[in-house]
Amino acid sequence: MNRKHFLSSLLTTGVSFKILAAPPHNPDISFRIPQQLKPGDVMGITSPAGYITIEELQPAIEQIQSWGLKVRLGTTIGKRDFSFGGTDQERAQDFQRMLDDPSIKAIMCARGGYGSIRIIDQLNFSKFLARPKWIIGFSDITVMHCHINSNYKVATIHSKMCNSFPGDWLNAEPVQKETIVSIKDAITGVKMKYTALPHLKNRNGIAEGTLTGGNLKTIETLAGSRSEIKTAGKILFVEDTGEYLYSIDRMFWSLKRTGKLSELKGLIIGGFKIKPDDPGEAFGRTLYDIVWRKVKSYKYPVCFDFPVGHQRNNYALKCGVLHRLSVTANGVELLEV
């Protein structure tokens, strides 16, 4: 069966599939694209934030090996300093070694949690710049994406991490498999394509711009620092989990008041797992109200419920790569240009 038709008949949202394998060329010439991975290449796995055990990594290791890649585990795997995968120094050293080691072709962060911001200023990207490699992860790893995209103009991959690989691959849900396969597609040079269902609150339009974004709380935390996200002329995506509506409102005010919404080409709202209001503290405004209030004076396309976030339908997105966003009455399409 034709894979493309098989998949699109199976899933109505968030489909990502192979169109053609392209060399690492970015139409947004200001950004550099790391080399795509070939069979036999080595993927490094490290924990720059929360701790993880080797057992928890097994599904990811087996899956990555099934792609024809070798896996090298960093010294932070299985290490623990309370909630962290080792002390700040240990995590920084492990990440640095992987950045510098020319035999490691991509770095997947084992999980998020909290901690990247505590080591980012200790990292030296000079060898990475001479030979860029894919840095992969999301949530707390948004620190890496923003820092690398803003300072070094190298593309990175926002995607699920090792702790999201299904333990029982054969019986995993199609969306779980698809999202994991989308990581493989992203690192092997496949041009990406994503779809989302139409949404009544979307603002229609078509735009082209470099994709940037990540976890909203983390983006707020980077304001004023040298890792701050740059959004002018870009398509911005944001997602978050476990936050109160009032807190989400405050974070969107931060985006607006720090000038991050006024010059966008497009805005993609991913998954938001909202913490219920406390009793007697009903916020009285939905996520759509919150977003709309901040962007109503602009004209660019806006879409909701895009398949990115702390959820099963969380597809690999290439930050720093040019994309075309099309929001119409028929649905949403995001296409790597």
Partner: protein
């Protein structure tokens, strides 16, 4: 140069408004009565004990209009924010401070009101009052020294506050302008027009109900946005009801702060009576203070 608004005289009017969260009328009653006993006239805004069914005391337009009216009304000599919650950040950019600049008056409150303090200090160099709000007056608590410190501050009495030493204090002395407030709001305002300026200042911070990792992240934001390296001194207030994750963070809040600032060389004190607990002295944001941290105690004295 900092502009100090005129201190209050008997018979002056204090406006009470809710620029952020909802507050029931009953919870403001003691505050109104006590302020009247102190000799002030009180003008209570419609946002206080309003009919609002939501989180806010009124919609943004209502809260903004009332704050603006009290800001512009020459008869109102001070504005007491009845409570914080969340909401000042939604209206701050629409507030017109033109008349306030010509005729400064005391803006009083804390927590969410931190946005007003930072915004006014950074943009207009006018002193404001970080102090207990309406709920602190309830259940006879208006007699405590913290609510009384607000009374003294309003009349222009110079403050001198003392507290016990903490094992994690870093000894030293500093004389500088005081800035600060709620950690979440200070971090949140970074990069906006309400961003706080801390260079050469004594900074005070307080927080409530946050996860330790989240407080750590906010402190890293202050550090990475250059707000911690050139302080004259740091006053760490109450960090009440802090929460921890299932995988414990492994440090107390004071240890977290100590680790981040220990290398800078300025004096630091932990557990100063400012914050969401009862122990919350009135502090003038923008005014000059002398901070002295010794082995035995901490003294914060307002400079003339």
């Amino acid at each position: 140069m900092i502009k100090i608004p005129p201190y209050l005289k008997k018979g002056d009017t204090i406006g009470i408004t809710c620029p952020a969260g909802y507050m029931a009328a009953g919870k403001v009653q003691s505050c109104i009565e006590v302020l009247q006993q102190w000799g002030y006239k009180i003008e209570v805004g419609h946002t206080v004990g309003s009919g609002s069914a939501t989180y806010f005391s009124g919609n943004d337009e209502e809260r903004l209009a009332e704050f603006q009216q009290m800001l512009d009304d020459k008869n109102i000599k001070a504005i007491l924010c009845a409570r914080g919650g969340y909401g000042c950040g939604r209206i701050i950019e629409d507030i017109d401070f033109k008349k306030f600049k010509k005729n400064p008056k005391w803006i009083i409150g804390f927590s969410d009101i931190t946005i007003l303090h930072s915004h006014i200090y950074s943009n207009y160099r006018i002193a404001t009052l970080h102090a207990p709000m309406a709920a602190a007056f309830n259940d006879g608590e208006y007699k405590n020294e913290y609510v009384q410190s607000l009374r003294k501050a309003l009349t222009g009495k110079s403050a001198k506050y003392t507290c016990k030493a903490n094992a994690l204090n870093i000894r030293g002395a500093a004389s500088a302008q005081l800035v600060g407030g709620n950690l979440s709001l200070l971090a949140h305002a970074t990069g906006t027009s309400s961003d706080i300026e801390t260079k050469g200042k004594i900074l005070f911070i307080e927080e409530t109900g946050e996860y330790l990792y989240s407080a750590d992240r906010m402190l890293y934001q202050l550090k990475r946005s250059g707000k911690l390296n050139k302080l004259a001194g740091l006053i760490v207030g109450g960090f009440s009801d802090m929460k921890d994750t299932t995988r414990p963070f492994g440090k107390t809040i004071y240890e977290i702060i100590f680790d981040i600032v220990k290398g800078y060389g300025y004096p630091v004190c932990m557990g100063f009576p400012v914050g969401h607990d009862k122990e919350n002295y009135a502090l003038k944001v923008g005014a000059g203070y002398h901070l002295n941290i010794t082995q035995k105690k901490v003294v914060l004295r307002e400079m003339p």
